[in-house]
C-alpha cells in the first residue's frame, strides 16, 4: 500500500517589478517624498560651500553669490525648494499619527497636533528671516 505523502502544490511567486513604484500614484508620491531627502542634502552642500566662501573673504563670497545667480543654480534651488517644502508638509502631517494623544478621554484630532508644528515652522522661519535680512 502506498505511503500517503503530503501534496505540496507548486505555488507561483510573482516577481515584483523594479518599476513597482510607477504602478500606482500613491507609490510614486511615496518615492518622491523619500527623494525629497536629496534636496535636503543638496541644501547642506550649498550651505557648506557658502560658509567656505564666507571664510575666504569678500571676493570669494562675491563669486559665490554670482554662482548662485546662474540660471542652472536658480532652477536647481527652485526644484530643491519645492521638495524641501514637500518634505516639511508631509513630515508635519504624518507626525500626529505616531502620537495618540488623549485629552479628557477623547483622541485629539490630527489637525490639533499638526497645527502647532506649522505654527512653530512659521515662527522659526520669520525669526531666521528677520535675523538675516535686518543686517
Amino acid at each position: 500500500m502506498a505511503v500517503p505523502v503530503e501534496y505540496v502544490p507548486k505555488t507561483f511567486r510573482p516577481r515584483l517589478s523594479t518599476y513597482w513604484w510607477l504602478g500606482r500614484w500613491p507609490y510614486l508620491r511615496f518615492i518622491l517624498r523619500e527623494l525629497s531627502s536629496v534636496s535636503v542634502a543638496w541644501f547642506v552642500v550649498v550651505t557648506l560651500v557658502q560658509i567656505r566662501a564666507l571664510k575666504r573673504g569678500p571676493a570669494s563670497y562675491l563669486a559665490f553669490q554670482g554662482w548662485m545667480r546662474h540660471p542652472v543654480l536658480i532652477v536647481l534651488n527652485a526644484i530643491a525648494f519645492f521638495f524641501v517644502i514637500f518634505h516639511a508638509v508631509t513630515w508635519f502631517n504624518l507626525a500626529p499619527k505616531a502620537m495618540a494623544v488623549r485629552l479628557g478621554g477623547k483622541r485629539v484630532p490630527s489637525l490639533m497636533i499638526a497645527l502647532p508644528n506649522y505654527v512653530a515652522w512659521a515662527v522659526v522661519s520669520a525669526g531666521v528671516a528677520w535675523i538675516l535680512l535686518r543686517g
Binding site: V40, I51, K55, I131
Partner: protein
C-alpha cells in the same frame, strides 16, 4: 533617532534659508545681508552651533532615507555595503567638513 531629529531640523529650518539664499536674494526679490554683517553673524558661537546642527542632522536624515529608497525603489539591496558606505559615509564626511569649517570663523 538621528533620522527623526534630522527630519525635524530639515522641516523647520531649511525652507526659509533655502528660499532666502537660493531664490529671494539671488533673484533680487529681497536685499541680502552685506558680506561684513553676514560674516559677523556667522562668527557668533550660537550661530556656529546652529549651522553645525543644520549641516549635520539633515545629512543623516538623508543617509537613512536614501539608503532605504535605493533598497525599495531600485531593489539593489545586494549592493548593501556600497550603499551604506555612500550614504552614511557621505553623511559622516559632510559632518566632519561642517565641524572643520565652523571651528574657526
Amino acid at each position: 533617532m538621528l533620522f527623526s531629529a534630522g527630519g525635524v531640523v530639515a522641516a523647520l529650518l531649511i525652507p526659509i534659508q533655502l528660499f532666502l539664499f537660493g531664490l529671494a536674494i539671488p533673484l533680487g526679490w529681497l536685499p541680502g545681508p552685506t558680506y561684513a554683517s553676514l560674516l559677523a553673524l556667522a562668527a557668533h558661537p550660537l550661530a556656529r552651533l546652529y549651522l553645525l546642527v543644520l549641516c549635520t542632522l539633515p545629512l543623516f536624515h538623508w543617509a537613512h532615507r536614501f539608503r532605504y529608497t535605493l533598497y525599495d525603489g531600485l531593489q539593489i539591496k545586494h549592493l548593501n555595503e556600497l550603499i551604506n558606505t555612500f550614504c552614511y559615509g557621505g553623511a559622516i564626511v559632510g559632518s566632519i567638513l561642517a565641524a572643520y569649517l565652523l571651528w574657526r570663523m
